[in-house]
Amino acid sequence: MNSNISSSRVAIILVGLEICLGLLIGRLFLIQSLHREELRERSEHHRHGQVRLPVKRGKILDRHRRIFAMNRDLVSVYADPKAMKAQPAEVAQTLAPLLDVSEAKLLPALEQKDRRFVWLQRNLDYNRLKDIREVTKGIHGLGYQIHGKRLYPKDELACHIIGYTNFANKGMEGIERQYDTYLSGGGLGLVPDSKSQEKLVTTDGKRRPIRPPQLYQETSESGGRIVLTFDEYIQHVTEKELLAGCKKWKAKAGTAIVMHAKSGEILAMANYPNYNLNRFSTSRESAKRNLAIWMQYEPGSVFKIVTASAVLNEKLMSPTSREYCEMGEYRLPNGHIIHDVKPNAWLTLSEIIEKSSNIGIIKAASHLGRERLADYTHRFGFGEKTGLDLPYEKSGSLRGLKKWDDYSVASVPFGQGISATPIQVLNAINVIATNGVLLQPYVTLQIINGDGKVLKRSHPKPIRRVISAETANKMKKMLVRVTETGGGINARVKGYQVAGKTGTAQKAERKKGYVKGKVVNTFAGFLPAEDPLISIIVVVDEPAGAPLSSHVTAPIFQKIADQVMRYLSQKDLFAQRPLN
């Protein structure tokens, strides 16, 4: 050994290094054995996270729990052509029968060697999963994905109520949109013990579950089920009759709503045109509009109910008080001339409604004054949303009332200068049916969570008393006369007294004012008059030839009412409610 190198110093280095490593072993032993539990406990919450499991979207059901929206688990198969080592031709041959695609179609996809992701076939039935799994396991560069796809077994039926989900399974319209959170399993924490959607799983450093693919299959939990108030049969009848009526009159659009008069439950809500929920992406946007709550139009003479109720409720007139109707032509102080359909001399208030005299109702309203008319209009629910649980509801406009010029005050009493939605008009006439109380209409009966527990139950929700029961009763009698001897004679239903009112409003267009030849026909009413069960509104937009409502909507009303009443006489829909 060379003199410069000190042997003892070499030994010091050796011993020093070995001791350091020995100390590290000791430290390792401390960490991994003696203090292990302490450290593990501390880090437990790091590795585990509450992870929202993929949820099977809840079903949407009618009041008899018939399925209107459900899920189908589908399997999609993809390839990573770049990573694939096997011969594309062989792979195509194996896959073709399994995926229902011809080899000729698969081959070009698999031969795109520069691509990292190609869908080979999407939305295959779930029961092929086992075979697909077998095959994809054996071939490197193949994979599959399971996802829930929405299926609407009734196609068009009740399409505007149900709505649809987009490609990402997010609700876009109707109930699918309104209750998206519930359907997708969120918001179910309303009930403290219902944390079924959250699961403690081991996550990686980016807080993702470590084994996500298996989770979907492991979840039996599903999102909330929504039970709706509508009845498949009533909905079917309503849609059928509305469609027939609109086609007959070559109308642009139409809407019809059937409501349980006592509770405000919507039994049917139909619009023309409609669309197939399973093919929403190829449907016209105009067909997707829920006109029943979205269309804002001048209600016309139906609105006379509000004016007449106000006059009666304020005890300014009685049903037998008379007004002179100027033989069908009346010049207002501002020079406008108001016409009636037929010339009349003296009419009682009851006759004004029955014959739908514009002049008569203007004169009756003149006792009220603007303030009180405006007050009653608001109290009947106009100018604000009914609060029905569907998205995109419009509130209508009461601009005519606010502006306070002589012409609009003169026209508001018979339903011009203000706009309303069909559901508002129906809800307003239903005030007469409920003996004076405005209700909030609703379409959802119950929301049930994945375990079958009822989370939310709807109850009739009175908003306010609008008129006294006495006034309502007087109004009811007047409205019965409309269908007995007046303009609503076509709405008479065999075996029942019907209370109702027609309305034909000329359509106003921007800058042009009222257009001749374009009208909106309305018939709204309820039956049986003595103890109202259902309220119905039928609105037809732009029937050809600008006919009167008595010819267009009254017959549609009659057909719907007749079939629904016969159905209801056999089936007590509303008795089953308390059971649930």
């Binding site: 050994m1 190198i5 042997s7 070499v10 050796l14 290094l17 070995e18 490593l21 450290l39 990292r116």
Partner: protein
């Protein structure tokens, strides 16, 4: 081990190619085997003769990281690390070469000076000068951990080479000054030191990386979670395949695995020093000690960091961490050791 710790990282970084790191590592291993084999037959005396050239080459390669063939990586904090050079599509980390180069040069310088080693100006200062240049180059990269390691290795060589205690204290003082001046003004490094000082008071409370590392070790326990079953490699630990591979090893193979690995390193050091002691000349002895000390120190620093005993530094675990340059140079170093040992065997036979 590299595969197990890096496959998910590679999956996310390199288009789902889980074998990315392993392929690179296997290639480096192959090169390393060839290098080791070659070095074991390549007479070490040549290193003695060309020590200056070797040093120059390795220092030049350190300069090259700032040249057009240099390859830099930007960290998440926006800091740029000029640590690599790239030739013909292959990346190389010159600091690894510098480690070996510096050991050879310092050994050469100490062994050829004979008694002059005791002189401050002629024995110690030139080595300090070289060390300072290296330090500045590394500071520019920056690669603080390697700089510390290099100075430790040089100090060991000076110590063994017979420098006076006063001289060694001087070198330590100068090294400390360099280290201090490079830490100062760098909030990041200060934080690491601060974290470390805190962890001295509270043994298991330290910064994020080390906390995760300790958690991983604790999860592994005595017997480990089994190969491939680590959870902490899944984006908990920032460098599961390089600096913190030992934590993953401890998690998957448990204390038994960690114990085994450290024991192997202890054996290696023992054998390395054994070769040094039996070496035929002073240069060979010093080179053997330098190489052994390097591997030993690197292991101590790496495992020390992983177990929370030392402040966090970017130091890999020799032979085990992912990193082609490190593996290649480590294996070549072993080759050199083997060659030294071969020389002495033949002498023994002759003698």
């Amino acid at each position: 081990m590299v595969y197990s710790s890096s496959n998910m990282l590679a999956y996310e970084l390199y288009d789902e190619n889980v074998y990315r790191y392993v392929t690179v590592q296997l290639f480096a291993c192959l090169l390393g085997l060839i290098g080791m084999f070659a070095a074991s037959y390549f007479p070490y005396q040549y290193y003695h003769r060309y020590a200056k050239q070797i040093l120059l080459l390795s220092l030049m390669s350190l300069v090259l990281v700032f040249s057009p063939i240099g390859y830099s990586v930007r960290s998440a904090t926006g800091q740029e690390f000029h640590r690599w050079i790239r030739i013909a599509g292959m990346q190389f980390q010159p600091v690894e070469l510098t480690k070996l180069g510096l050991v050879i040069y310092v050994s050469h310088s100490l062994s050829s000076k004979g008694d002059k080693i005791h002189s401050l100006t002629r024995g110690v200062l030139p080595n300090i000068f070289i060390l300072a240049i290296t330090f500045i180059l590394l500071y520019k990269q920056p690669d603080f951990g390697s700089a510390v390691l290099l100075s430790l290795a040089v100090i060991v060589l000076l110590f063994v080479g017979g420098a006076r205690p006063s001289q060694i204290i001087l070198v330590v003082g100068i090294a400390c000054f360099f280290i201090y001046s490079s830490i100062q003004g760098d909030a990041y490094k200060m934080q690491r030191i601060q974290d470390f000082l805190n962890s001295l008071k509270h043994p298991y409370e330290t910064n994020y990386q080390v906390t995760q590392s300790l958690n991983a070790l604790a999860l592994g326990g005595v017997f480990g979670a089994g190969v491939g079953n680590s959870i902490y490699k899944l984006f908990y630990l920032p460098y599961p395949h390089t600096d913190f591979i030992f934590a993953i090893l401890g998690e998957e193979l448990g204390f038994i695995g960690g114990f085994g690995v450290i024991t192997l390193f202890m054996l290696l050091i023992w054998r390395g020093i054994h070769i040094a002691r039996r070496a035929t000349d002073e240069f060979a002895c010093l080179v053997a000690i330098g190489i052994t000390a390097f591997i030993g120190l690197q292991t101590i620093v790496n495992v020390g960091v992983v177990t929370g005993m030392l402040p966090t530094k970017g130091i890999t675990l020799p032979f085990i961490s992912y990193g082609g340059s490190s593996l290649l140079i480590s294996m070549v170093s072993i080759g050199v050791l083997l060659n030294i040992s071969r020389g002495m065997e033949s002498q023994e036979v002759r003698g």
